[in-house]
Symmetry: C2
Subunit: 598 residues, 2 copies
């Protein structure tokens, strides 16, 4: 059975030492979470993850959710109690506004704890995760009355939320959606249609479920311009705000999935259900993107989190499993064989996972901090810059960290050999669970298009240029420092490849858009490598500074950073050149065959 | 539900046009399988795969195998009948010697059909696959009496075979194994111990099961030098050669696995079971490698085969699924959306899979042909050269094609978006099934070590040098042909990287063996890319020749080869440089952390 320990000291190092989290104490909520409070919160979150969530992870996989004859859904044993503890601990509203019952703490703290909880139990954490996305959407687009009506119960967790986008014939292409909304003459709408793949669509954790549903108001324009977003509760709410009559919303079936069995993935049927317009009429796509962007960061976090959990299991196994002898002579001569961690190819896997994970964590926290600045900053220029970063990095975090999270779950499973293929060891579950993160909230190919087609050219390329400048300045600033040379040289090489790829896109995509599409996936991963490499640059610099200053009890950890950062530069950054070569190959060969040829 | 069509014309192109299969009609068995007979055999094999095996693939996944209270195992519905048809068609003994009831046809024909059958139903095909490995081992190491006793029933499929290596505490490191063999004084042995992960260990397809079991004879030396191989039948066989009394062999449990549910993976208990020494006393490891090498090629074929099946499903879905519009303007304006195959990133996936698959098929068939020459050739020099090739390419085919088969199953699943994650579409099964091929018969990290540590240095590097020379000569021979330049240039670049990596190993591994281990995985994949690139070089040259000669009805197929080959060179070969960079980084950073640091 996998074990899991939340990497609290790693989080603290990134937040306080690398990102200078405490410098932002002028922002609302930050002063309330000073470093020592932060450490206490992380420790509490760690306990919840390790002691409550993680022990239920395999239970959720084995039992799955059950749809009963009456259409209700029963979650796996223990999920209700764990969810109750999560809500009672105030975790749902950690960074939600105080006026709706939240604690108003920084979003970055929520993200930090979110990693631990998703590492421990991804399927369970999806219930609150979707609720938080719905909360953010209502906060951004709801009327004051809607906020007062829906948010307090959602923030306390008594009600959960969902997002209802996909229909059988349309996922990515929401312009095709058919779910209908008919005005009832009283300012409300009657919603009818079928939605599929609705995570947490029906379950027994909360007394009500607040569905956010994309639908087309009768007579609305075709395509995406005619889509509106609606609040459609499972139970209608009376004047006092209490759940009352059922609302023509039902779960028609549960999907049988490859993984995340603990989460109920529902076919949802809407039959003239009462719904309330959220945001502007025909402005549903825009409102949905609030939900989506929040969710995409959350999914990137999931990918990272499952990869981390899988890594921890692999590392523990590699230290314990005795098999063969080191190529350089026995390391445990007193035993029948050496632990497999002595074998370089096992090390390669562990180092690869860990070097990615530490940088992935830094990238997530850096970006979450930018989200705080974007939403809470007092200076407009600062807010804009942070918003640019957030928008730019969202597809990178979603696309790259979920691809890597899955890849690393597979790699961790490989460390177990044949035992990894047997369900009881839990490694298969990590692989099966991590797989969905590459698909939902926009398949990773869509993230790549979002990056290349929207985020990169936005505002004349302002966001990307700022990022390139920041990384370039970092390399320049440490060029003369011989302890940093090995790192900045590799990073600069990666940055050069990324800038060359960007230039190629600017020169070749406008007249032939397929060149953008053909380059997009490699571009996203190239971008991710440079962003992760930059995180290593910063972590290494911090570690060097701490070592120079004595580092006290942290010296071991700081030395480890230097090694892991070097590994990243030596073994992972060389991939940037291959990405650039593929990007520069263009779309011609890729698109040359006729459809029938496949 | 996935559909599958066996790519018979692709196989014929590779065998007859590229590899010049018919030139070998001086070898035993080849004249009997002239190109038109070959085409007829492939067509029959295709029918069996498409009509009998494939429809049972999902049944096997859903039902799995069941161990009954009496220790017997029931295979999924339809498996018995399909296996019967397989045996009645003579497929089990297709390339087995005629004196034991086989048809004596070339091994390469067996491999060609084997692809179709494994694409259609990997789990089912493991039952005969293991039997064929056992047949090969008894052929190579059995006494005449043993061959007469065991082979005819195995060749007709009435009895199946297994290989019993792994024990709970030892997989890769067989020196640790504990299963005991005690001489009974009559030339036989009593075998006792527990084996795990025994594929097809117990089932209801055959009347007897011939287990090949590694065990340690009482008093034998420690480690791998003291291991012997035994024939241990499920039912002892009487003087007339008929199954008689039970033999202290039982299936203790079935493993619950991530995939290949249709195959029974057993815990096997041996309790003083009667066994017969196969090969020399304490020569078990050598004998086992006969079985292993045969099996490793078979597993490489599985990886390729499942990747091909997944590709076919993805291509069909991409042509049908309507979603979004082409970046270069609508392609199906009469419909609500374009088929997703118009999107470059979908194309990228399909082209990547297909470009790998066609080269993978060529590499497998080329190597299978070398196996025929190695075993049937009339000239010793020719046999040695073929044997060199076979030994060298076995870990490459196993390691690279199973990694890629899995990667492509994941890629094909991604084409389906959310629908790929739902079990009913069958894409999850491809991923779950393909996963094991990276693990069993020696995890791919072990293949990489086999390549770098054994195969590469063997006979002073003779095999690798011959391969490098062949590829180099090919590039040189077509350097002046402008239709070939784009291909040979990329191939030559890849070969240079491979030779540089080889040189690096020669210079850095002897004094520090960890450098070999640290480089091994990248080296294996670098080697694979060059081998696959060379296959593309040869396929493209053949296609150019056929086009120059008119090509008749094949022109479309030949044009497609040129495009796919170009794609491979443009998009896949650039990876060789990244492999070289990683290899050259050495082991130092990788091994720098202490074990406790992970």
């Amino acid at each position: 059975m996998p074990t899991y320990r939340a990497p609290v000291e790693e989080t603290m190092f990134i937040l306080c030492d690398v990102l200078g989290y405490q410098r932002h104490d002028n922002l609302p909520g930050f002063a309330e979470a000073s470093p020592d409070v932060l450490a206490a919160i992380l420790a509490e979150g760690a306990k919840l993850a390790e002691n409550v969530m993680q022990p239920l992870n395999r239970v959720g996989d084995v039992e799955g959710c059950v749809r009963n004859a009456d259409g209700t859904v029963t979650t796996p044993r223990g999920f209700r109690e764990a969810y109750r503890q999560y809500c009672e601990g105030g975790w749902m509203g950690l960074s939600a506004p105080a006026e709706f019952g939240g604690q108003g703490l920084p979003y970055v703290v929520h993200s930090a704890v979110g990693e631990y909880l998703s590492s421990a139990n991804m399927a369970l954490m999806m219930y609150p995760g979707l609720t938080q996305g719905a909360i953010a959407t209502i906060l951004a687009h709801g009327t004051e009355e809607q906020k007062r009506r829906w948010l307090p119960r959602m923030v306390e967790g008594t009600w959960t939320g969902t997002m209802n986008l996909t229909e059988p014939h349309c996922g990515t292409d929401l312009g095709l959606l058919r779910t209908k909304a008919v005005p009832d003459g009283n300012g409300r709408y009657r919603i009818s249609g079928q939605k599929i793949f609705i995570s947490a669509g029906e379950h027994d954790l909360s007394e009500n479920i607040v569905h956010l549903v994309l639908a087309r108001i009768e007579g609305a324009p075709e395509g995406t311009k005619g889509i509106s977003l609606f609040i459609v509760p499972k139970l209608r709410v009376d004047e006092a705000g209490n759940p009352a009559a059922p609302n023509g919303v039902s779960c028609g079936a549960l999907e049988e999935k490859m993984g995340i069995h603990g989460n109920a993935t529902c076919v949802m049927n809407y039959d003239e259900a009462e719904g309330y317009l959220l945001g502007a009429e025909n402005g549903g796509l825009k409102a949905m993107f609030t939900m989506m962007n929040e969710a995409r960061l959350g999914v990137g976090l999931q990918g990272h989190a499952v990869g981390e959990a899988a890594y921890q299991s692999a590392a523990a196994y590699a230290r314990e499993r005795l098999q063969g002898r080191s190529l350089s002579g026995p390391k445990a001569p007193e035993r029948k064989a050496d632990p497999i961690i002595v074998h370089p190819d096992i090390r390669r896997k562990l180092m690869t996972m860990r070097a990615f994970n530490e940088a992935g964590r830094a990238l997530i926290l850096w970006t979450a901090l930018q989200a705080d600045i974007a939403h809470r900053g007092q200076d407009e220029q600062e807010r804009t810059k942070a918003q640019d970063h957030l928008a730019l990095m969202t597809p990178v975090i979603k696309g790259v960290l979920t691809d890597k999270g899955f890849e690393h779950a597979v790699m961790a499973q490989q460390v177990f050999g044949g035992h990894g293929y047997i369900e009881e060891h839990g490694m298969s579950q990590f692989v099966r669970d991590a797989r969905i993160a590459m698909i939902y909230e926009g398949a990773n190919g869509i993230q790549a298009l979002d990056l290349v087609g929207r985020k990169l050219p936005a505002n004349g390329g302002r966001a990307a240029q700022a990022f390139f400048r920041e990384v370039g300045d970092f390399c320049e600033a440490h060029r003369g420092d011989e302890k940093m040379t090995a790192y900045t040289k590799a990073l600069k090489k990666g940055l050069n490849d990324l800038q060359a790829a960007t230039l190629w896109l600017m020169q070749n995509a406008p007249q032939k858009p397929d060149n953008a599409g053909a380059a997009s996936y490699d571009y996203m991963h190239l971008f991710g490598l440079v962003a992760l490499g930059y995180m290593w640059g910063r972590m290494v610099r911090t570690a060097q500074e701490k070592l120079a200053g004595g580092a006290d009890g942290d010296a071991g950890m700081m030395e480890r950073k230097l090694v892991l950062g070097r590994f990243f530069m030596e073994r992972i950054m060389p991939e940037t050149a291959a990405h650039l070569a593929r990007i520069s190959a263009g779309a011609e060969t890729m698109m040359a065959l006729r459809e029938e040829a496949f």
